[in-house]
């Protein structure tokens, strides 16, 4: 039987009319539960966090080349009164919004807009905050034609040498290159129940097991939880969430996030620009060294 290929396996029971039970493998898998939690539609999305933590938002549009990508937003904002730039992808909750914001998946012009606006912040010495909650790259014809790979690559390179303090936070799903394109920062944070991965569990399952329904096993094998990613040294800090997850008490979650952001920003501001850039370079030069000589 060929597995469903495009969508994640549906919640409908297959064949016989049995109620859907979470399979034993899925229930046991902490990593898969975390993935589901990170994807929970009630969970605060990046824009929800931004509205709770920042004030005086004023959006900046367009990449000056092709279009304004609604799935990526860049805004001047104030963080405890200080002028900063906030960038995030935008996710919808309704069908209409999901279409409008392309399920939160930015297009190349979105990444290019983000970079253009980051350079404005750099010019005027304003710290940059990015917030990430996206599944991965946008698999579309137009995105490929307009050089999605190049757009992401350019962001990685340029973010590594931005002169201003940068703090990236994975609030939900940090999916592959699309997430990394906003996450080459002085500090990379991850919410406790967020996941950060090189590929979605579904994608991994359909490649390695040739069966997307093995997603729970794939999630487990990929070690995508904040604890695992932190252990491997691929993020700098984990932001705690209220008991049960951010969706149960968004205000408390926002306060906890605020606290961490404040702490890290103060640390970064205490460093000289040269020291901060050198530390960022060093961090990424020595990240994820898993080899023997």
């Amino acid at each position: 039987m060929t597995p469903p290929t495009t969508q994640p396996p549906s919640d409908q029971p297959e064949g016989k009319a049995e109620p859907k039970h979470t399979s034993a493998a899925e229930a046991q898998s902490n990593a898969w539960l975390k993935t589901e939690l990170a994807r929970n539609a009630q969970r605060p999305y990046p824009m929800d966090f931004i509205r709770m933590v920042f004030t005086d938002l004023s959006e900046i549009h367009g990449d000056r080349n092709f279009a304004d990508d609604p799935a990526m937003q860049c805004s001047m904002a104030r963080f405890h009164g200080e002028e900063v730039l906030v960038i995030s992808n935008v996710k919808g909750r309704t069908t209409k919004d999901n279409v409008k914001f392309n399920f939160g998946l930015p297009n190349p012009e979105g990444y290019r807009k983000a970079l253009r606006v980051m350079k404005i912040a750099e010019k005027f010495g304003r710290p940059i905050f990015t917030f990430i909650d996206l599944l991965g790259a946008n698999p579309g014809l137009g995105a490929e034609e307009r050089g999605q790979g190049e757009a992401i690559a350019r962001n990685l390179l340029e973010m590594s040498r931005l002169a201003v303090p940068t703090i990236a936070t994975v609030t939900g799903e940090g999916g592959s290159g699309g997430a990394l394109a906003l996450a080459v920062a002085d500090r990379v944070l991850m919410l406790e129940n967020a996941v950060y991965s090189v590929i979605s569990p579904e994608g991994c399952a359909s490649i390695m097991w040739r069966d997307a329904s093995k997603r729970a096993m794939a999630a487990e094998a990929l070690k995508t939880t904040s604890e695992d990613v932190m252990t491997m040294g691929c993020v700098d800090d984990v932001v705690p969430e209220p008991p049960g997850g951010a969706h149960l008490d968004p205000d408390a979650a926002a306060r906890m996030l605020d606290e961490k952001l404040t702490w890290h920003l103060n640390e970064l501001k205490a460093m000289s620009t040269e020291a901060r850039l050198a530390a960022r370079r060093e961090k990424f030069r020595n990240i994820a060294q898993f080899f023997t000589v």
Partner: protein, 282 residues
């Protein structure tokens, strides 16, 4: 009764040297479906003499084709530690062992220092035959070391990509390699050292979304598959057939994503020429 049954039906060829072995002498070209004498293909850098189809070529042959004799292969000693202890239908360790045996390399990458035409260069070549040329910690570190060599010596850097993307068996660690190499390339850019990226069939996923697209020049071999999302994934998502030639070198050239499409035989003179342009002024 068995009058029709021959007793001594063994036809023996007593001297083995009389046998003419034909296996492996001829190969079928993927491009024109014609049979080509394998020696002709080998002498032509694996390019079909009849239709010009560029067949895959192993990393060490590429180095030999591009650099003058006397080059040195370096940074070959690194080996993956399997950070996730990854297991799908097979263990990652067994996949690694098999690939190491098949290719004679520790991972999907070869670094070399030597002379290309009139220029001293650092060359890094990906090996597609090693787990699809995928990039894990070892590939990432080896390329980062090539960048370091380039920075220290101010020799131009050339990276030849052939990869399915990040190696998912190393999870998030393989994603971080994109950031590692890209930030190294930012320093190379600041230092004004030339970097030429050569994209070969196939260059997809995380490799396209990092160093392969960050050259001062990004050039590709003809007909190479180049993209971020794979064509099958896109087809399944948009549920329609992709146009002919989608994500091939010529398509990218047309869309302004490449500086040139250069046939394999002309690669060396092209790079030599470009490096003269890039280094003469300093």
């Amino acid at each position: 009764m068995a009058w029709f049954k021959r007793q001594d039906n063994e036809i023996e060829n007593s001297s083995p040297e009389k046998r003419v072995r034909t296996e492996g002498l001829w190969v079928k070209c993927e491009g024109c479906d014609q049979y080509i004498f394998k020696a002709d293909l080998d002498n032509n850098q694996q390019v079909c003499p009849k239709c010009g189809q560029h067949h895959k070529i192993d990393a060490r042959c590429r180095v030999a084709n591009l650099l003058e004799p006397g080059y040195e292969l370096v940074d070959l000693e690194l080996k993956s530690t399997d950070p996730l202890n990854f297991y799908d239908v097979k263990s990652y360790k067994s996949r690694l062992a098999k690939a190491q045996q098949a290719t004679g390399l520790n991972d999907a990458i070869v670094n070399a220092v030597g002379r290309l035409g009139t220029h001293d260069v650092v060359l890094s070549v990906m090996e597609y035959a090693f787990i699809g040329g995928s990039m894990g910690s070892v590939v990432g570190e080896t390329i980062a070391r090539a960048v370091d060599r380039s920075l220290e010596s101010r020799r131009p850097l050339i990276i030849i990509s052939a990869s399915g993307g990040a190696r998912m068996m190393e999870g998030i660690a393989s994603l971080m390699q994109l950031a590692k190499i890209s930030s190294g390339l930012a320093q190379l850019d600041d230092a004004g050292v030339p970097y030429i990226s050569v994209l070969t069939d196939p260059t997809t996923g995380g490799v396209t979304a990092s160093f392969a697209m960050l050259g001062d020049l990004n050039i590709a071999e003809p007909g190479a598959l180049i993209g971020f999302a794979g064509p099958r994934v896109i087809e399944q998502t948009i549920r329609q057939k992709l146009p002919e030639g989608f994500q091939r070198s010529e398509f990218l050239l047309e869309h302004g994503m490449l500086d040139a499409v250069v046939p394999r035989q002309e690669l060396k003179p092209y790079i030599d020429r470009a490096l003269s342009f890039m280094t003469a002024a300093t």
